[in-house]
Amino acid sequence: MIRAFLIIIRLVIGGTFIYAGYQKALDPYTFSQSVIAFKMLPYIASVTLSVYLPWLEIIAGVCLITGFLGRGATYVLLMLALVFVVARASALMRGIQINCDCFGGNESGHDKDVNGFMIDALLAFALIIELWITRLWTAQKTQAATTNENTAEIASPR
């Protein structure tokens, strides 16, 4: 049951990041304009980030789904989601309208920015849940393995 839930949650989170990264990777110029619009970093850092972030999202998303480097990918995605939350909150507080193409398209508007903030916050929350469930599942597995070992030892004493 826990395993099935883990698979579903990883598929949803990983899929969301892969989709978002793919949309940005298709059009790095437009995404760079969005990153520059946040006015949080120097120009060259914003441009570097705008070509790096989409691929990081795609690769970490794939790792999360496949399980290859999965634990590390979860931390990377959590860090990304938290950075997005802080950046969006900062832009909203400064009254800056971001033309973010985080999920494709280039419409803008306050409502869209608020929706983007909510999605990022939701993703961060889902990733924390994922980490918690993974820990729970790993603990259960370890406990089950220990119990099996003990039972086997009792059943066949040397």
């Binding site: 437009t30 790096y52 691929w55 990081l56 690769i59 009254g95 033309n99």
Partner: protein, 146 residues
């Protein structure tokens, strides 16, 4: 925890390779050198900035040949060239609905002589208009209009 940190570092490293490729070879890669607007010039990002009240009313003037203008241009741009000046200057005057309306002239790129001539003539003959030339011209627009 140590294992997770190492894994995270590997994920961060793997993403560098495609990012470098994107930055170097993607057809729509961002500009690595920061575009700077000189006097009488404006950056596309500034002229389109929805947060900037000074640029709320912008009229685009495309000085490229009509055939190219017809295929693709900036939103609601007027195609004004030296050879169509007399016919179309009325349209430019009529487009000025607000006192703070700004006119941004663009040609093929920064070196397009048509854009420079049209901007100079507009400044000279229509001194009431606030005229700018667009840094990188149509090449700047091309990246945001597809």
């Amino acid at each position: 925890m140590k294992k997770a940190v190492i894994q995270a570092l590997i994920v961060l490293l793997i993403a560098i390779a495609p990012a470098i490729a994107t930055g170097l070879w993607h057809p729509n890669r961002p500009d690595w050198s920061e575009p700077i607007a000189g006097p009488g010039q404006v950056l596309l990002e500034t002229a389109r900035d929805k947060n900037n009240a000074a640029w709320r009313h912008t009229i685009w003037i495309d000085t490229r040949p009509f055939e190219e203008y017809r295929i693709r241009t900036a939103p609601d741009a007027i195609n004004l060239r030296m050879d169509t000046w007399d016919k179309l200057i009325v349209m430019v005057r009529q487009a000025r609905q607000f006192s703070d309306t700004k006119f941004v002239v663009f040609g093929e790129d920064d070196n397009d002589p048509n854009a420079k001539s049209v901007a100079e003539r507009l400044r000279k003959e229509e001194p009431q208009l606030d005229v700018y030339t667009l840094v990188r011209g149509w090449k700047a627009w091309e990246k945001v209009i597809r």
